[in-house]
Amino acid sequence: MAENARVLLPLLLLLMLVRVQNGESVWLNLPSSGTKCVSEELHNNVVVVGDYAVVSDDHEHLTPIISSKVTSPYGNVLHHKENVTHGQFAFTSSESGQYLTCFWADHPAEGVGLIVNIDWKIGVAAKDWESIARKEKIEGVELELRKLEGAVEAIHDNLLYLKNREAEMRGVSETTNSRVAWYSIVSLGICILASCAQVWYLTRFFQKKKLI
């Protein structure tokens, strides 16, 4: 019994760490008062899966609680939870733009900042490989190769997206370029026009005053 426990405990700890390593999560420092936000710019139709948890290594005190909110670029609240130590959210982006995830500590009486673990996966990483493996009955090396194939497809899609963005930006650049040329010529024209108008007006003025 004791031997089982001695084997199980490090196994469980490593399992937890492995699960964490799977998602490649990031730990953030939450200040004791105020909000901490992370954002990401997403385009349309991207699957997003997020997982956050407060990390506390001190078992005597209660784990501090936080609130979280996920907002879309147009202001819609996609996920809002108060007074929790961990949470999960999943959505598909319907608008392209900046998605903001904000956390704040509910009871700033703690004094010291707390650490939040955020696991944020988009696109191909958000795919549920376990259910796909079960459904198609693949495992081991074949599953790994399937994942790599997914990664390569994602790279290809990203390249196409970058290409389109570059094309848009090139359009804006060329518009700016032609506008700079045109506006400078118009500016020169206005300068000449203004000086001619001045000279004409002042000549008329002095002639009226019988000074010329």
């Binding site: 730990w27 420092n29 990483a125 090396v141 990664a151 994602a154 506006y183 002042l202």
Partner: protein
């Protein structure tokens, strides 16, 4: 003895199932210091990543020289430092396992948004192969392939963040061209008008008549 072997086997299999997940590039607003933590599971893992300062609403480019980036190991030693950059790629071999700290320092008071991506890559080596009979040499090759694809994905995220920054600059230039040119025309017209009014006043009867 058999249970420890079995638990190691399960662990080994689980470790292999770390998929080529794409951690999306999160953005964080740096006011003074912002620190992000990442856990490195094995000593000798390659930690790679990049960061780009995205939000750059500055007037002249000499206003903000960039932000400082400091990576600290769990022991407190500084692993890497980059000063005054607006975006860099980094890569290092982790000297030990544990929680690594990635800090962005903003020397000025204007808040900057930094988009970062951190990836911890592990390739099983001969030591792991010898320890676990379920680990095939093909798994080593798959891990290397996965890491190579990860580096391509990381490069793409860097390009995407740089593209976002370039787009910011472009749109800012576009807006500046329009507003500054129209402002220039108005100013020109006002200046000529003022000149005419002033010269008229010089010749007006209320001022000494034949002074000019």
């Amino acid at each position: 003895m058999k249970t420890t072997m079995k638990s190691y086997a399960i662990l080994g299999l689980l470790l292999l199932t770390t998929f080529a997940g794409e951690l999306s590039a999160l953005s964080v607003t740096v006011n003074d210091v912002e620190c992000v933590y990442e856990y490195v599971l094995y000593e000798g893992d390659t930690v790679s990543g990049n960061f780009v300062v995205v939000d750059h609403d500055i007037f002249w480019s000499s206003d903000h020289p960039g932000i400082d980036f400091i990576v600290s190991s769990p022991g407190g030693n500084v692993v890497q430092t980059m000063k005054g950059t607006s975006g860099e790629k980094f890569e290092f071999k982790a000297p030990r396992s544990g929680m690594y700290q990635f800090c962005f320092h903003n020397p000025y008071s204007t808040p900057e948004t930094v988009s970062f991506y951190i990836h911890v890559g592990h390739i099983p080596n001969e030591h792991d192969l010898a320890k676990d009979e379920h680990l095939d040499p093909v798994n080593v090759k798959i891990a290397e392939l996965r890491e190579a694809l990860e580096s391509v994905t990381a490069e793409q995220k860097y390009l995407k963040a740089r593209d976002a920054r370039h787009r910011h600059t472009n749109e800012s230039t576009h807006k500046r061209v329009i507003f500054y040119t129209i402002g220039e025309y108005i100013l020109l017209a006002v200046a000529s008008g003022l000149q005419v009014v002033y010269i008229r006043r010089l010749f007006s009867k209320s001022v000494a008549y034949n002074r000019v």
